[in-house]
Structures are given as structure tokens and as C-alpha cells.
Symmetry: D2
Subunit: 354 residues, 4 copies
């Protein structure tokens, strides 16, 4: 129930960071799609650790294997099982955590909720889970090929990419390791992350995501508003603290006379403070939103903490961790966006009698 | 499917603003709760139109009638049906909208999605629907009586209540019509809204909500993280453009060494940038979040727009509308928060074998 | 969650037999269907009490009122709320049951499960709830107009209609009060029920239902097999003890060489022991199944029983009850069949990419 | 959505008979259960092919591997992933089926529904899927240890075990290969199956299942009646054509005065025609039901059929198939029964406020 994502197109997942494998089942994917396996693996490669010197140096090939639901390269309409074997779990990196609660992690809450936990690398709380989402999202992208989804790093700490997305060239996002499509800003961001890393610290940031070519009509208007589904998706990503779309929090400062998007004769709008969604339903304009990520909780500095018995102790990160999670989260944001849009795309086929 | 909210405790609703009634069914409410009907009606009264001169002057008594699931004042465990009769629909106020798309409303998207719409007062898109949520939320509050939920107006336009919630006295929220617990700031907010109203314009704002006394362990950690559920709930409210919890968007500017919440020996934390939720699960600290509302789209000024045939025309709001939606949204925010917490409270009863 | 029926087309209901009203919400009904309200009321009239001298003599007009989701006679795609006011509850008929458990009713199990119950007329356990289903089913029929669903009484006690359905004229089902399309057998059945009624007793029976014109492809093959969904639906009707489709329990006595349905060149089959469903998916042949109803538990004879404290006592039915539930259950069987088929019809729109 | 079974305790599965593996994810299993892995494997061994000379001679070790959700032998409350590698797929056995529709199989309906299918061994339609169910059911049994579930072969063709279940010794069910606890009847059944097998034919049969020690109160009374959930589960098993519980179809011939179960002072009943369920809720008495299986469609005789182009052709089973599916279906029936009861057991924890 709670390891599932989506309605008609439903992803259910399993896996701990240090178990034998992670994986999932995609249910409701329509029959008849010729799968581009290479495109899926490429998305996984964008997320995988060890890509550059500003992300964690863990090495995991993260190769997805499909176990069902695809026959002779074409989806059959049956459930698609897949798995990614965990090959590089250094559980000993975590042996010192057995009994100690890492600050601002989920160790304490898991223990209190379940009375037990897999302490190796965070177990199920690890962002390793998001590799499953990238697989499913990459498949979903192939279902809604006409929609273009582009996410990019829009801030690292207090360093912001000020340009609006319309002035950016998304084809340059992958040109640098921080995934900011503006080369000059990217360079500064990379520099900042290197300084932070050297200090054994971590830093937060934001991702902006833009979906273009979305047909009018996606979203269900009361409790599955398109932006509510996107928001819930983004807030499911580890370390996310906030979500805004269209005018967002800035819109809360504005007046109606300046905020309203005036129509053109063809139904498009002159401005797009609505962010492509009105009344919870896509209106055909670009959908854009922004996601806030806190700094990674694991730092390479000594921190006071407690153990499971409430005794004071100290802890220092020893594994290989990301100084800034944002660059690796780009494909995750895109994947969940694709899953949400593909789900609503299927749902929308049932909303009119004729 | 999409007019339902919640998992084990599930609210399903119906109703258009200008139909004969709105209402809902609450499924999964446990047996054995003695219902305080007056408390429910009080919450409805907080939301209803016509309360003060800074909200819409529509008059609707908004009296809820329970039709099932409660016998001799006690919940029976069966589904609770309720309805609120619509008494004061002035459909003629909307006759001029029949064929015209109001800017930044859902008229256009509904028409394109469904091929038809109830144009009277926005039909199902009207915030009148939220009266249903207030009923269900008021009941949910009675299930989780130990949890205290307090929302308040934290900004109107660019006028912010700067004090942190810890410095506020929530018992004063209802002392003024804008529902800001700081009397001095409230006065300025009210003044601002009056000016805006006089200009025939509308203005946005934010609501901060605090839940205290939440037990440790609520929330399901992958796709039903507590904050993701709260975020989806808030983004379901009409006019909401953003959600952040704990450190929120500010957290994205911080470093791990300053953002981490250090434990006290009893498991509580010295700071609470996590906002009471770690790994998607409540940690027993205060939960707090902020919700951004755009300015109401209906303004009393002439605006360019189009009709259903794409012809240019003009429109001016004629009904009785809110210049600022925030004060009336306070009980709605609280209601959905209560529904989310009550749902997770029930779910949590099933998460341990013993 | 458990007062809901269906997936994409979802009915959620509320109501006790002696509360002010029963009703429901139909979610997921597509936009654009012109509703035939008279056809809905006709189905309700087929179910209502007091139609003839072989059913309960309670008089209830059972008039359905639609509260939302239909605008100017056409479905809008929003949730359809409806209710039926309870006009003729003689609660005093049940005053003697307050504390006494009626044998083979749900009094005991409700009390043990919930710790409380509405004892008036069975409360939520009453078959009055099925009026809600008939409303929703009658609407569903209008969505899948090409499918013809006909149910009829195929046995009363040990009196069987031996003819296969192919030899029957369904247009004659409504010609007699027992709803058996063979006049001669119907007469015997009516006679039998009259004798049973006179003795203050009740009797069981079976209903056969046939769906014709079902397109190939309805049903989801693992856990939502078409026949499993139909079976679950039928087993939801009060007093049902068994379900079989196609060859049913007889098929369990047969050999593969005689049971297999051999194909015609057009994909139809020469025999139809499969009952129109293969691998959980409709194959375009007639779907037919049989439902077993136990005798109504309320009899007009003295019975030993216990009260809530475990004291021995006696009880005798005093209300107005059906001597045989089967004739009034015919429209209920048809309604749930229509709901199941309409749900799968919508789902099937999403199962192929192109 | 449709490869999932259960509500709070939810099994989602994948896998084709001739793909690399089958498997599933169990969501909602509570934390804190020490898993008996051997007991799970034993259940799988009861289901696996090649156990005796009256079942298919395929040899598959069917070893389940758990991939997550269990840490140091104890469930953690996170999703439990598992898989069973397919080791003995002789796809060439099915090469002749590529384009031919086997009578009374799902080849035709899959092709028409999805426009494509995995023709090897039936793909997703194969009963191999049921191995997944046995794994999940064996785990569920460990959650509800106090409930004893025993299924057995109650008929093969027209050969019936006439004794009521109360007169049987369930400990003898595994003493013979047909899984009938009466040795004399078992011998006749085995003889019958051998004759049928020799003739290249198959035969149907029934399974009776008894659940003892079920607490009062399981089941949700409207659309998740306990018997409706059990019925839907049984009708999900390949080849099942009918389900009845308690008095079943016989009850439809009876009168209320003979059918009602009279209470004892302790709330138990003198008779149990209700089959342990009243109003959809368990009453603490034994639950018993009967399931009808048609003869396996694959026979070792020549049959007329068509290919995908509608051309007449012939087909003869060449693989290794069961002459009677009933003995191997016993653990499947028990597994699904355990899953249903465990799900309702968890749900019931949420139905009372105190």
C-alpha cells in the first residue's frame, strides 16, 4: 500500500541499500510499447554514484534487469518486474552505527515506529531506493514520448541561477557535473560544493523542473490535482523540504490583477503564473515547479548524538556520501514527473464517454 | 477514486456550489467515539462566508446534517454520510459566465478535459467543496484528541508575521478577523485587505500550521511520507501554490553542520529544522509547515478574456468573492491536517506484530 | 475503503435502514452521458418492497434524488452524489430486538466487532443498502448500453427451472411476480412461496444471470479476473452463499476432453462451458453465472436465542419481511453485474498503448 | 493495481512461466515477526511440480529467495521482496503454440485484449504464478499463528469424499499424493486420476477448506465481506469455476426454520450452516468453503482449433501437465485463505477507537 506509487500506472518497490538487491514491479503499463532499454540504463547512469568528484565515490554499476512483462522487446500489458543487484555494499562502513542514531536521519523514527531496523546504510531509508524510481520513470517517459521533461540545478546554497527557464538551453544541462545549464553559474556551484566537501560538510539546493508538450486535461480536480500529485511525488524524495509550482511562494505576495494569466484566442495564456495547471488540470502551457533539498545529514565532522539507550555519544560519517545531493537528484525528479504524467495520461482516457 | 482522500480513514465527497447540496462519506472511522456535534458546527462556522467585512458577503448557514454511521451520539464503525444543503446560490450572478472562460480559473481546463462543465459558480471547482473537508476534519480531530493543531495567517501580500510560532499565543488567533495571533500585525493585514478590496482587487498570503502532541511513528516511509501526505493535502486546497515544512526552502541554503537537529538524551532534539518529521515519520517534535495561497482569481475589475469559441471578450467579477482567501482557509488547513494525522494514527496500529 | 465498490468506476455508500436516508457517491463516471432518470427509477421500483403479495409489505417509495455530477441532464465527469430518503421506518417493529441477537443475522458479529450497533432493522446490515447499488447499476447500464444483462429466478427451494437460458424469453421475466421467465414454473414457485409464507417460514433459491454483447477483453487476468470480480460482487449481496459461472460445480465432475470449448474460425466457440470468460478475460461469448441465496433468517416463528448478556430468550419476527428474497434480488444482481462490466470497460481503455 | 492482492497486507506479483524468474512484493507485513523460512519452503514444496506420478513431471526446485524486509531473521515492517528463479523452462515444448490458440486457455483472450502475448507456457496466465501466492500465504500464516487452515481434496470427477470435515483427521491429508485425508477414498481418487492420465485426458475436482480458531470480528460488512474476499481469492486461482461457503448451494433449497443457527449461551452456535461468517463477519465458528476446479484444458489428445488468422488446425498437448490440478492446488487454497485472514486481522485493529 505504501511502497506503491501511482494509480493506474503503479510502481511498487522493495529493497534496502545493503540487501542483495533492490527492485520493483510496474503494474498497469499498457501493452504494445517497444522498450528502449539503453535509454533506461542511461537514466540510471545519470543517477548512479561515482560519476564525478562532487558526488559520492561509491561505485555501483546499477544495472537493471527486467524479469517479466516485456516479450521480444515489447510490453505485454502484464506486470513488469525488475531488479538491480547491490554489488558494492560496504556494510562495515556502517558497523559503527548499529546502535547510534545519526542526527536528522531516520534511525530514531524507524526504531520507534517498528521496534527494529536494518541499520546498514540506512536500509530502506537510503536514497538507493530512488534507483527503482528512475527505472520506472524512464519507462514512463517512453509511454508519453511527446512530453519533454527537463530538470536542472537552480541553486546550491545561496548561489542561484537567476535566469528564467525560458532563457536556458536544456541540452547543456549534462555538460557539467552539477547539471546547471548555465556554464558560468555551474562553475561557481561546483567550486562551492568542492569547498563544502573539503570541510567535511554538506550543502542544500533546489531543482527546477519543466514539462513541455503536456496535453490539456491531465489531472483530476479534487484530491488528485496534477500539482498535488507532483508535490507528493517530489516530497517523497529523500531530503526534500519544499515544493512550489508556477508563481509559488512569490505568488502569495501578489495581487489578482497582476497574477491572472490572460488568455490568447487559442486558449494559451499570455503569462503563465499558473505554471501550466489550472484547477488541478493541465492547460497545455509549460508546467514548471521548484523543489527544495536540505543539506545531506551525513557529514564528515564529529557530531554529538545518542545511542538507542539514550546515552550521549559522538558520531562522524565514515562512508562515501554526497556533499550535495542535488546533481544526482535531477534524474529522480524527472523520473517521478514522468510517472505522474503517464499515470494521468492513462486516467484521462477514461474521463469522457465518447 | 479521485474524489476520495485518505487511506484507512477515507473521505469521499460530492457537490457543486450551485447544486442542491454538497456532502460526503467518511469511511473507516472507528466505532466508539462520542461525537461532539457542536465542535463540528463551530469549525464550519469558522469557514463559512459572511463572517466579517474582509471576506465574501455571501450568507450560507452551512449546517451539516449527519445521515448515518452515528447512533445515539456514538460512531458505529459504519460509513458516516453527511450533507450540507446549499441555501443561497445566486446562480444568476454567474449567468454571464456561461460561455466565457474566467482567467486563472478552471473553466477552460474543465471544458477541455470533460467536454462540458457546470458553469454556475465554478461548479465542482468551487472552494465550497472545502466545507465537506472541514466536517470530516472536525470529526478526525475528535479521534486524535491529544494532538493540537493550530493554523494562522502568517502573511498577507508582502506583510509578514515575523515571529516564530513558539512566540505566539494560539488562543488569540480567533480574536481578529484575519486570524493572525499577533494583534498588531493582524491590524495591518486587515487594513491591507480592505484597501485591496476597495480597489476591486485580491491578494495572496500564507498560512502556517503547527501540530503539537503528535506521537512518534506516524507516516509511512517510502511513498506515504508524513510530509508528502500533508503536502498533497495542502496542494489540494484551491489557490495553493506551494508547501514547505521545517526549514523548507530556507533549508536549501544551509549546510549540514548547521541544519542537523542534535538529539537530547530523551530522543527529543535541540533544534527542530526537521519540522517534526524525519524519514517521513513523525519524531514527536512539533510538526510545522507553511502554505502559499495565490490571490483569488475573481476580481472586480474588467479583464480581457475569451469565450468558448475563442472570441475576445471582457469579464468582471459580479458575485460576492473573497478579497483574500487566507483567513477562511485556516480551518480548512487544520481540517486536512487532522485527516492526515488521524489516517496515519490508524495505520500505525497495524505496523507492529505485537 | 470498505464501503466502496469498483476501481475506476467506484461506488461508495452510506446508510442504515432506519436512519434519515441512504445514498452514495459514484466516482469516475465519464462525462458526456445523457442520463435516463426514468430508467433508473424503474430499476428501483423493481427492487422496492411491497410490489406483490409474495414480498415484504413494507411500503417505501424509494425515490432517488441526484445531488451532483449531472448538469442539464448530462454527466459532467465529477462525482455523482445521490440519496434515497427513508420514509417508512417503523423502528418500533425492532424495539424488541434492542438487546437480543437474532439467529443467523449479523447482530452478534456487529456487536463483537464494533462494540456497538444500530439495532433498528439491522442498521447497516439491512438489505436496504442494496437500493444504493441499484441506482449505481442503473447508471452503469447506460454507460455500456450495448451489453444486455438479464437475471431471473432459476430455483425456489427444490423447485428448479430446468431449461437452459438459451431456451428462455427474457422479455417475460417481468410478467410474473417471482421473475421466472417460464410461466408454468413461475406459477409453481409462487405457490410454493405462498405456502412458506403462510407457515411463517422463509425459503432459499437461486438466480441465474446472463450478460450478452460483452466485448472481448474485459477483465484483468491475475487478481481482478472478470469472474472473480463478479463473484465478489454477488457474494456481497445479503444472504448469498455461493457463486458459479459457466460449467460451475458441474464442471468439476467433467473431463478435459468434454469440457474444452472448441473454436469456430471467427474466434467464437462451439460450446460455452467457459461461461464467456477465459483466463479471467471475456471472450465475447455469453457470460452466465448462478448465485445461491439462503432462506431469509427472519421468520415469523418462535426461535430460541440469547441476549447480549448471554441469557436464553426467545424471538419471533414482527416486521414485514420477505418469505423469499430471490425475486427482489433480481435487479440487484443485474445492477452489480453492470457495475463490474462498466468498470472493466473503462479500465480496458488503458490497457493498450495505441 | 491488478497484480495486487489484499488491502493492508498487499501482495504484488510478476512473472511469466518461461521468463527468468517470478516473484513478488509483500507490503504492509508488520515488523517484529521472526520468520520460519523452512515452513515457507515446505509450502512451496507441496505445490511444486514433479512430486508424484499423478502430477506434472516438470522438475523445478522452486526455491524462494527473500531480497528485503527481513533483517537478521525478523521482519522490519518494510516491503518484503522475493523471487523464485525459473530453472526448468522447456520453451521448445511450446514452440508449436506460437500462433495457435489452445481451446479453453487464455491464448485467444490475451491476444485480443493486449494485441500481443508471451506464448511460452502461457506466460503470465500460467499457474506458475501461484507459487508466488504460496510464499506470501506461508508468511501470512506466521502472522496469524493461532488460526489453523486445512484444505483437502473433497472430490475428483464424480468421486466424492462424503464425510463432513468434522469426521476427518487433517493430519492425514499429506499421507497420500491426492491429499484426501480419508485413505480409502484417496486410493480410489488416485486410481481414477491414473486412468484419466493414461487416456491423455484430465479431470476436475473440488477442494474443501476449513479455517479454525478464527477470532470473532474479521471481515468488513458491506463490500469486503469475509466470504466475498475468500470467494474472490478462490476465483483467482486458475481453473476455478465456483465457490460456496457454509450451506452453499444446498442452503438455497432450505427453509429458514431449518437453516438458522441457534445460539448457545456463549455466543457459539449449535449448527453452523452460516459457515462461520454472519453479515460478512467471522463469528468464531469454523469457517469452511468449497471450491470447484474444472479439468485442466491441456490434454494429450488431438483437438481441433484455430490459429491467430482464424485458420483451422489441430493441437495436442506436448508439455508436462497435470491430469488433475486439485492435489497441487491445496497449498494454494490455504495460502490465499491465510492472506485474506491476515489482511482482515490487521484491518480489525483499526475498527474500534479504544
Amino acid at each position: 500500500m505504501f511502497n506503491s506509487f501511482g494509480n493506474l500506472l503503479k510502481l511498487t518497490t522493495f529493497g534496502e541499500s545493503h540487501g542483495p538487491a533492490i527492485g520493483g514491479i510496474i503494474d498497469g503499463f499498457p501493452a504494445g510499447i517497444t522498450v528502449d532499454f539503453q535509454a533506461i540504463q542511461q537514466e540510471l547512469d545519470r543517477r548512479k554514484p561515482g560519476q564525478s568528484n562532487i558526488v559520492t565515490q561509491r561505485k555501483e554499476p546499477d544495472t537493471v534487469v527486467f524479469l517479466s512483462g516485456i516479450f521480444e522487446g515489447v510490453t505485454t500489458g502484464t506486470s513488469i518486474g525488475f531488479q538491480i543487484v547491490n554489488t558494492n555494499q560496504k556494510s562495515k562502513d556502517y558497523a559503527h552505527n548499529t546502535n547510534v542514531y545519526r542526527p536528522s536521519h531516520a534511525d530514531y523514527t524507524y526504531d520507534k515506529k517498528y521496534g527494529t531496523r536494518d541499520y546498514r546504510g540506512g536500509g530502506r531509508t537510503s536514497a538507493r531506493e530512488t534507483a527503482n524510481w528512475v527505472v520506472a520513470g524512464a519507462l514512463a517517459k517512453q509511454l508519453i514520448g511527446q512530453i519533454k521533461i527537463n530538470a536542472y540545478t537552480s541553486s546550491v546554497g545561496d548561489l542561484f541561477l537567476e535566469k528564467p527557464y525560458q532563457d536556458l538551453d536544456f541540452s547543456k544541462t549534462e555538460d557539467n557535473v552539477v547539471r546547471c545549464p548555465d556554464a558560468a553559474v555551474a562553475e561557481k556551484m561546483i567550486e562551492k560544493i568542492k569547498v563544502i566537501k573539503k570541510a567535511g560538510d554538506t550543502i542544500g539546493g533546489t531543482i527546477t523542473c519543466v514539462a513541455q508538450g503536456v496535453p490539456v486535461g491531465l489531472g483530476e480536480p479534487i484530491f488528485k490535482k496534477l500539482h498535488a500529485a507532483l508535490g507528493a511525488a517530489m516530497l517523497s524524495i529523500n531530503a526534500v523540504k519544499g515544493f512550489e509550482f508556477g508563481s509559488g511562494f512569490c505568488g502569495a505576495k501578489m495581487q489578482g490583477s497582476e497574477h491572472n494569466d490572460i488568455f490568447n484566442p487559442d486558449g494559451s495564456t499570455q503569462s503563465n503564473l499558473s505554471g501550466g495547471i489550472q484547477g488541478g488540470i493541465s492547460n497545455g502551457m509549460d508546467i514548471y515547479f521548484r523543489v527544495a533539498f536540505k543539506p545531506v545529514a551525513t557529514i564528515m565532522q564529529n557530531q554529538d548524538t545518542i545511542d538507542a539507550d539514550g546515552n550521549a555519544t559522538q558520531i562522524q560519517g565514515k562512508g562515501r556520501h554526497d556533499p550535495c545531493v542535488v546533481p544526482r537528484a535531477i534524474p529522480i525528479v524527472e523520473a517521478l514527473t514522468a510517472l505522474v504524467l503517464a499515470d494521468f495520461y492513462l486516467l484521462n482516457k477514461t474521463r469522457r464517454a465518447f
